[in-house]
Symmetry: C2
Amino acid sequence: MKFYDCAPAPSPRRVRIFLAEKGITVPTVQVDLRNGEQFSEAFRKINPDCTVPVLVLDDGTTIADAIGICDYFESVQPEPSLMGRTPTEKGVITAWQRQCERDGFYAMMEAFRNSTPGFKGRAVTGPTDFDQIPALAERGKLRVNAFFKMLDARLAANEFVAGPRYTIADITAMITVDWAVRFKTASLEGVANLKRWHDAVSARPSARA
Amino acid sequence: MKFYDCAPAPSPRRVRIFLAEKGITVPTVQVDLRNGEQFSEAFRKINPDCTVPVLVLDDGTTIADAIGICDYFESVQPEPSLMGRTPTEKGVITAWQRQCERDGFYAMMEAFRNSTPGFKGRAVTGPTDFDQIPALAERGKLRVNAFFKMLDARLAANEFVAGPRYTIADITAMITVDWAVRFKTASLEGVANLKRWHDAVSARPSARA
């Protein structure tokens, strides 16, 4: 088994935190996204979509998506559960993970990739080059700020994003908040519940993964 | 249990097809998106994110996301399996469902909502209004066309999107293709493998859902 990672990138960090919570270690290869290694012929053979994370199993099967990889490990080693034990838990946690991804993570990536000079001509992940759209960076920023407010209200009544326990939804939300704060897309001022939750999830040993 | 649906919309159709494949029927309420019923006070109480589909369980639990709802039903009634039986199948199917969603479904929605006159000022689903971005509609169209080509290559060597069996990845891909063809974002000319697969999945009784 081999895990294709890129230490500075937010997407593969989702898997690293997930694995740290489960206490699983996997042989890992770093892919140098900054120098375009994802477009090399060697990496295209592993993932023609030119993205990380990728997990290649011993039988050669490829899982080229962060949540797909988490699904695999949740099924191989269900405890501690991060994606739910009962049908209701599974449905609710998936829905919250996806809302955080859609309204938070993807909006944050839109804001970041469409405004950062280093991503000029590379506004979308994957094998095709696309120009940056400044108006989309602006929209992304507004959406991330709306996401912070939405999550702050949610966390007023819930200890964690999907309810009373830490789940994969917290991982997606924490990485979104970390990235948005680091690049000044949004801030933790005036959102006390979000701040309380962010301090708590950031204090878990897995957050260093 | 109550399923909040909107017959003409592509997102809730994902759930309708999934349920049809499993032979499950659920009491259904139509939400009139065209006339803004998703913004009514009554619907905001059901889903503050103002989107469909939503599933409300008998105990009041709300699952406000298409794939979250599918996760719930896959867990309640695993057969026929649409999300995988083994850890490897689960990981691979999730990854393909998500690639079709990210590069296909979302790109198609970007192209559609950022160019259709009826969505002026409503370019993003959810409670907040956002202006259309014409450049994003153009980018979405290019991405949908790249998606058609990628999927055509994939289906040259695979009967279905995630491999030898019909899965939730085919549902996401079929709805993307249907919508993109209907609104002339892309066409099935020159992509013979995609056409062969599209004919096959469209002939299943579930496709009428």
